[in-house]
């Protein structure tokens, strides 16, 4: 059914129409075309203004057949603009009902277009708007990404910076080290890593407080940084430790000189608000490629050299050498052997604990020993520390505790067993439970058992240590504080922890005859223990004179080579048997003088 529209409505519905006669002369055009191509479009030839893209080969308007779809294009500024529509052949004219095409050019053309260019029914507008919205969102996303990148770069810089000293921090230092390592490998150039630790810094913190410590750290950073080999990277590794990456230097002479220069910078005292602080610096160097070839190894070796620098006297530098390398290899070998060791390689020896008053043995301390089939006898200090560091100490504790309890079951019931626990044994509830289980399963009377722990073991995690010790004491096991006087010797432990016995370290005993002050300290501790109602054992007694002196000082218990060297289980049994029989004990480990004096007797 034909519909006749008023011209205004027709214009609104078809703002892109164009009408031309049989010769192609444009008779009229919609508002949109007039706006895009100018009012002068009327009167021009259709095919001079528009190119018919489809159908192809339309060279005269005659070829535009009725009711056929058509795509035309025309030049608009610098781009081609396309419209699509429908051909209606009228009596004396041809009408093209054209609409805009939402392609890229049209989107560009959107800057020319307004709502009036689109028929209300033309969804093309929605597509153009969608295109604009998406462009906008894309632009906004790009801006966000750029902002994010900027913030990331800022965060990265901050993440690698030590706020206090303005130096790069450990993270940044390790990154630089990786970069340097890559460059050095490619260019085959040496470089050296240095680790610096401040000597006496803790005392500054303790005496002046942390604010003063911060000032010293800040000034230390500045002193280290000043006038080094060109291109040297300085970082703060954390705490009072600094790091150096020194390009192009690896010779021993150059490093020794550099070490002296840097250490020398700490000779001058530090002026801080709280006063004057004096500290020193120790340095460990490790070089690429002679010392190590990976970042991890360089750091480890520099740290190893630093450890030796601090061990020597502090305030100097040590360069990681082939000897150090050999020591590390030996340690690794020992660690491997320890890990693979059979249970039989470990055994216990026992050292008697003697009552001063009458020389009676009241118990024995179990001491661990390891005989490696490859390395031979390894000292307990060495292998126990190694076991602690390598995470094997828990296995050793349980193994040796079982052996000790088994041995002690054969002893007379008035002899107690003292057994040493490591810090790690107290550090977890699970480890403590396993120990408790071994004790319970052994059938050994818990009131005869004493666990010896060091201050260091408690310092590791006091709350956890308290819980573990509480569990042991609830079972009737007694606790001895070992090596008293060598650590922080905090008297807090005596009331915070369930301590039944305190063992004064052998370093005091060695000096007790020679130095009055040491004698006074030992006397004070003995008196303190008596007042607190706890046992006191003086360790390391090695002479008759020491034993006699300690007896005069009313030390209740003593232990040491003077009374007996540590004995194997069968030797203990032999000694006990001899004593029981009333005959003199003829153990080679027991000094003849003691046997004669009858000092080594089992209590009645």
């Amino acid at each position: 059914m034909p519909v006749t529209l008023p011209s205004a409505h027709f214009e609104r519905l078809f703002p892109g129409y164009v009408r031309f006669d049989e010769t192609g002369k444009i008779l009229s055009a919609g508002s949109s075309l007039r706006r895009l191509l100018g009012e002068q479009i009327c009167g021009q030839n259709f095919l001079n203004t528009f190119e018919v893209e489809t159908p192809r080969r339309v060279s005269t308007v005659d070829l535009l057949t009725d009711e056929r779809e058509v795509t035309v294009k025309f030049q608009l500024s610098s781009f081609e603009y396309r419209m699509r529509g429908f051909v209606l052949r009228e009596k004396e004219s041809i009408l093209l009902l054209l609409g805009h095409i939402p392609d890229t050019d049209a989107a560009q053309g959107a800057s020319f277009l307004t709502m009036a260019d689109f028929s209300p029914a033309d969804g093309c507008l929605d597509l153009l708007v969608a295109n604009e919205v998406r462009q906008g969102l894309l632009q906004e996303t790009k801006a966000l990404v750029a902002e994010l990148k900027e913030r990331t770069a800022e965060a990265e810089e901050l993440a690698n910076l030590d706020q206090l000293t303005g130096l790069i921090n450990r993270r940044g230092f390790l990154r630089k080290l990786d970069e340097m390592l890559q460059e050095a490998r490619l260019a085959d150039k040496p470089f050296t890593v240095g680790l610096i630790d401040l000597d006496g810094f803790k005392a500054v913190n303790d005496v002046f407080g942390h604010a003063a410590g911060d000032q010293v750290l800040e000034q230390s950073g500045a002193r280290i940084r000043g006038d080094l080999v060109k291109g040297t990277i300085v970082g703060r590794m954390g705490g009072d430790e600094f790091g150096l990456i020194i390009p192009g230097v690896s010779s021993e002479e150059a490093l020794q000189e550099l070490g002296s220069v840097v250490c020398g910078r700490f000779a001058e005292p530090f002026l801080i608000r709280e006063g004057v602080a004096r500290i020193g610096a120790s340095i460990g160097f490790a070089s690429f490629p002679n010392g190590a070839e990976s970042a991890g190894a360089l750091m480890e070796y520099a740290d190893y050299a630093l450890y030796h620098a601090k061990q020597e006297k502090g305030g100097n530098s040590v360069i990681f050498t082939a000897d150090h390398q050999r020591n590390i290899r030996h340690r690794l070998k020992m660690e491997r052997l320890l890990m693979e060791a059979d249970d039989d390689e470990f055994y216990l020896v026992y050292q008697p604990i003697i009552r001063s008053e009458d020389g009676t043995m009241i118990g024995l301390e179990a001491l661990a020993r390891w005989t490696s089939p490859v390395l031979g006898e390894i000292g307990p200090d060495t292998f126990i520390r190694l076991a602690e560091q390598s995470g094997h100490v828990a296995r050793l504790t349980l193994l040796l505790l079982k052996k000790a309890l088994r041995d002690a079951l054969t002893w007379p019931t008035d002899l107690s067993l003292s057994f040493n626990l490591s810090a790690i044994d107290l550090a977890s509830a699970e480890a403590a439970k396993k120990i408790a289980y071994v004790v319970a399963a052994s059938g050994f009377a818990t009131e005869r058992l004493q666990f010896e722990i060091t201050e260091t073991a408690m310092l590791r995690d006091i709350r956890r240590a308290q819980e573990s010790l509480a569990m042991f004491t609830s079972m009737g096991i007694r606790i001895a504080l070992d090596d008293f006087g060598t650590g922080y010797s905090s008297l807090n432990y005596l009331w915070q922890m369930p301590i039944d016995r305190l063992k004064i370290d052998c370093s005091f005993t060695q000096e007790i005859e020679l130095r009055k002050d040491v004698r006074n300290i030992v006397q004070s501790v003995i008196t303190l223990c008596r007042d607190l109602g706890i046992d006191c054992v003086v360790e390391g007694v090695s002479s008759n004179r020491q034993a006699a002196l300690l007896k005069r000082m009313r030390a209740p218990l003593q232990q040491g080579f003077y009374f007996s060297e540590p004995m194997r289980s069968d030797e203990v049994l032999a000694m006990i048997g001899a004593d029981n029989s009333g005959r003199p004990v003829s153990l080679p480990l027991v000094p003849a003088a003691i046997i004669k004096a009858g000092a080594l007797r089992r209590s009645a």
């Binding site: 959107a110 307004t114 969608a130 906008g136």
Partner: protein, 184 residues
């Protein structure tokens, strides 16, 4: 509302307060940077949370803030990456208002989560245009006032906007044009 509205509110607040104060505002009012992603559609509660926070921080009543924000939104949107839609919308305030529903419909096609209001021109003379504003949202009359005021400014017109009446079918606003262009 879509996050682009939140972004406009943030920009307005940053213009007034500065970046540091804005960061403090986010922290104080427990607002999250996640609430400012343009293409995300947020519940109106989030939008009002932001508006209330800015209003409280600036010490401006909610309606005054919404009015100011309406004006700000027009300039923000016109100069934003989405500004081309303003040009397509019309060359003057009259054609723009007539085309507004169509523009919103087109935007809705891209942002289907949007709940667009409608604007119907009830009266148009040389010096006055009355517009019926219908929205399923309530409480935004001051914002609409600000929008019309912003449009006047955007198209270089002088005039005033008044909220004439609230009817059951919507709210009628009157844009009173003054100055030489009003008589044209």
């Amino acid at each position: 509302m879509y996050g682009m509205v939140h972004n406009a509110a943030r920009n307005m607040a940053v213009d007034a307060l500065g970046n540091d104060e804005w960061a403090l505002l986010l922290k104080t009012y427990k607002l999250s940077p996640d609430q400012f992603i343009s293409n995300n559609n947020y519940s109106d509660a989030v939008t009002f949370e932001i508006v209330d926070a800015i209003s409280e921080r600036l010490g401006v009543g909610t309606n005054d803030l919404l009015r100011a924000f309406g004006r700000y939104w027009i300039e923000y949107a016109a100069t934003s990456p989405f500004g081309v839609m303003f040009r397509v919308g019309g060359q003057d305030i009259r054609s723009f208002l007539r085309n507004l529903n169509r523009m919103h419909a087109s935007i809705h096609a891209t942002m289907p989560g949007s709940r667009m209001p409608s604007f119907e021109v009830l009266l148009e003379t040389n010096s006055r245009i009355d517009v019926l504003y219908v929205s399923e949202r309530i409480g935004l009359e001051a914002f609409v006032e600000g929008l019309f005021s912003g449009l006047l400014h955007h198209f270089g017109e002088n005039g005033e906007v008044a909220h004439l009446e609230s009817r059951t079918d919507g709210d009628v606003f009157s844009i009173l044009l003054s100055g030489p262009r009003a008589a044209a």
